[in-house]
């Protein structure tokens, strides 16, 4: 019965098929099929966790580079490598993202699946957020996270006071002045250096105390310094620039050196225990020991001045003897002073050898070979023939004199210890200083700091001494000049512009922020939501050391300097290599922008620290 009914239906259908076969294929005779066709779309790999690292700024454009780094795919996030990425940044306070780079996968990622792209247009003092998304056509994946790259340069900075190092000597040339002192410090003041001066720290390759600095008498511009431990430094050119290169010279002695003289290929140093070393080697590699017949074996030679290799004068202490030393060498034939022994000078005008230690001697030509020697107890001896005929001048002072500056026959001066209850001594002569002229007390130095160094030009003088004191005499009065410890303008940190921070060479790095240090202030943006409870901060400091190699560290304070985090310590940093050091910690969650303090410290090889950049990266 059922079959009958189905057959009836079939007949009807078949009839219709015959009638309109192309319209309705109501009856089918044979078939085959392709089942299980499937189309499955891919899943794009999402970029891995993002980090943002800022680099040293570009001087020319004053822009910074921020390198973004991520893994090419979070495990399990997808199977498809993206065609590329979109790196975007957002200025703080903005709600829109700006594309800064759209690298292809191949150009961004290496074989190790590490991808990088650099934003080369990041502005200073700008807070950015960065994110990276992977893309393939209209598909995107990610971002894994958003990094805040805040304040590429700090918004404010201050200089934590440097320890005051004593200055021992100052030298003048037409291009500027150089002062040296404790802990190998070298200060320079280019140009006329009048008024308050513009002293900067130059790189020093030593942490040994420097006792004396001079320019080569030939006028070549080469400068020399000598100090503790047999230290001898030289600078070939541009020596009044903070970027000058000072290098050590092995003079073959470990004795403390107090005096150095250089003139046209002849360099000689003097120091403790009657040490005298000299060289005529063009490369300053071969030094010989000189002979001083004056004084005793314990005599400390404090000063030396040379008209040439054949006419040299030294001064020194009494040692175990009774008279201070003024000894000279004058060579008429072969040889130079040193190989020819120094002998006590002769005295004229009824004068006799000083009964006090002699501390400094200076020579200047003009109207004779004028020489001036000074020492303890206000002693001033002068000569018009350099190596003989010294006459003691009446000065009216009993203060110890430590330095003398010979500007001309008619301009010379001496400085030294403070008078009892008064300012440091300043004796001045303005005419015929090596003969009949008067040496008398000059203007009030305005300081009680002991003045150990003196340089002059025309009627002006510069004195340097204890406590880092630098005083300038303009011909009428003394005023203070600023050593290189002035406050730091934030703009200083925006570019490598030569501003520098001196470092004490023997400071231990501690977890606290102790001088010497640079304390910079950076702003951490407000958290994006109350769900953020402990933002992580990564601080990158870009810096380099000028001079020597150094260890350095960065410490972080989120409580205005009351406490400092454990330091992020980095190893030796060579002078010529700019370096960044990262510090990672957390900051308190805050609904408003907050400031953190960054303390940058260094120690080791002396020199100074240049801060080029401070970058704060906050991840919520």
């Amino acid at each position: 019965m059922k079959l009958t009914s189905r057959a009836s239906i079939l007949v009807a259908a078949f009839t219709a098929a015959i009638l309109v076969p192309a319209i309705a294929y109501g009856a089918f005779t044979a078939g085959t099929s392709n089942p299980g066709n499937t189309v499955t779309t891919g899943v794009l790999k999402a970029p891995g966790a993002l980090t943002a690292t800022a680099h040293l700024p570009d001087n020319a454009t004053n822009t910074g580079n921020v390198t973004l780094t991520w893994n090419d795919g979070v495990t399990g996030s997808g199977t498809l490598d993206p065609a590329g990425y979109v790196a975007e940044r957002q200025t703080a306070g903005s709600s829109s993202w700006q594309s800064v780079a759209t690298p292809t996968y191949g150009s961004a990622c290496n074989a190790g699946h590490v991808c990088t792209v650099t934003d080369t247009s990041a502005a200073f003092n700008t807070t950015y957020s960065y994110r990276v998304r992977s893309t393939t056509g209209g598909w995107t994946a990610g971002p894994a996270n958003v990094r805040l790259a805040a304040s590429i340069a700090p918004t404010a900075a201050e200089d934590r006071e440097l320890p005051i190092d004593a200055l021992a000597s100052v030298a003048y040339s037409a291009s500027g002045l150089i002062a040296v002192g404790q802990n190998g410090r070298i200060l320079v003041c280019a140009g006329t250096c009048t008024g308050t001066g513009a002293w900067q720290m130059a790189a020093s390759p030593t942490s040994n105390d420097l006792n004396r600095v001079v320019f080569d008498g030939s006028g070549s511009g080469r400068a020399w310094a000598a100090g503790a431990g047999g230290t001898v430094l030289t600078c070939a050119s541009g020596c009044t620039s903070a970027s000058a290169t000072w290098t050590g010279v092995n003079a073959g002695t470990s004795a403390e050196l107090y005096g150095i003289a250089a003139n046209t290929g002849y360099v000689a140093v003097v120091g403790a225990s009657r040490t005298m070393r000299y060289t005529t080697d063009a490369n300053y590699t071969t030094w010989s020991s000189g002979t001083i017949s004056a004084g005793t074996a314990t005599t400390t030679l404090y000063g030396i001045t040379a008209k040439s290799a054949k006419n040299v004068v030294v001064v020194g202490s009494r040692g175990t003897g009774t008279t201070g030393v003024i000894a000279a060498c004058s060579v008429s034939g072969n040889g130079v002073c040193g190989s020819t022994a120094f002998a006590a000078v002769t005295y004229a005008g009824g004068s006799s050898a000083p009964t006090a230690d002699m501390r400094d001697v200076s020579y200047v030509s003009g109207g004779g070979d004028n020489a001036y020697a000074v020492g303890a107890g206000g002693n001033v001896y002068v000569s018009t023939s350099l190596t003989s005929g010294y006459t003691k001048k009446t000065t009216g002072s009993t203060s110890d004199l430590y330095a003398v500056a010979a500007v001309s026959q008619n301009a010379a001066a001496a400085v030294g210890a403070p008078a009892s209850g008064g300012s440091s001594v300043f004796l001045r002569c303005t005419a015929n200083c090596a003969s009949t002229g008067t040496w008398a007390g000059g203007a009030d130095t305005g300081t009680t700091s002991s003045l150990s160094g003196l340089a002059g030009s025309a009627g002006s003088y510069w004195a340097a001494g204890s406590g880092g004191t630098i005083r300038y005499f303009n011909g009428a009065a003394w005023t203070g000049q600023s050593p290189a410890t002035t406050a730091v303008n934030p703009s200083v940190l925006q570019a490598t512009d030569g501003n520098q921070y001196a470092l004490a060479t023997a400071s231990a790095l501690t977890s606290s922020c102790t001088a010497p240090a640079l304390v910079a202030t950076a702003t951490v943006p407000a958290r994006s939501s109350s769900a953020v409870t402990s933002p992580a901060v990564k601080v990158t400091v870009g810096y380099n050391f000028a001079g020597g190699t150094n260890a350095s560290q960065v410490a972080l304070s989120t409580d205005n300097g009351s406490t400092w985090s454990a330091a992020a310590l980095t190893g030796n940093v060579t002078a010529s290599t700019a370096k960044t050091v990262d510090f990672t910690g957390t900051v308190p969650a805050s609904d408003s922008a907050q400031q953190i303090l960054l303390c940058v410290q260094g120690t080791g090889g002396g020199g100074h620290l240049n801060i080029d950049m401070v970058h704060v990266d906050v991840e919520e």
């Binding site: 099929s33 392709n34 089942p35 891919g42």
Partner: protein
Amino acid sequence: MRLAAVLAVALAAWVGTAQPAPRDPGRDQAGGLQLVPTATSTGSGQLLSNSLDGKPILTVVGLQPGQSRAGQVTVKNAGTTSLTVTVRQSGLTSGPTGRPNLAAWVQLTVYDATTNKTVFAGAYQNFPTSPFVLCGAPSGKAGCPGWAKGETHAFTFTVTFPDIPKGSVVNVNTYQSTWLRSEFAWATAL
């Protein structure tokens, strides 16, 4: 008497193929289905041969924007006379649940290398679910020639994930990790 014989043949054919159900590859092809000449060989009594009989033409994994994938199938009139060959899609499903319909976004083209014609182009989901003659004519319209005895057609099925123009507001991102599945059934029409 002649009509009775035709009816007998038609009845046998109708029982097996008038409503060809989606083929389950795991299903035993015994019973009533044995009445359907589906073997890929061209043995006696078989009207169509299919180079991928019982197997998918398209097995596409990881399709992504702007990308196309293709599969080929060759269908032959293995019968003794000229036939009209039809194909239809059945059992189209997509997922996962709650996600956009991939079949509505991806495009399917069918190219007949024998006639050098694109015989279908459109959204995957628009491939006819009624028997359809792949000859390049509008679906369901007359004018398609039959296949001569032994005539072979090589079809290329291509799926494409259309990318979006830059700046488009269309969001295709949600098509990641979606899928579709369907069957293509071939048949002859009397």
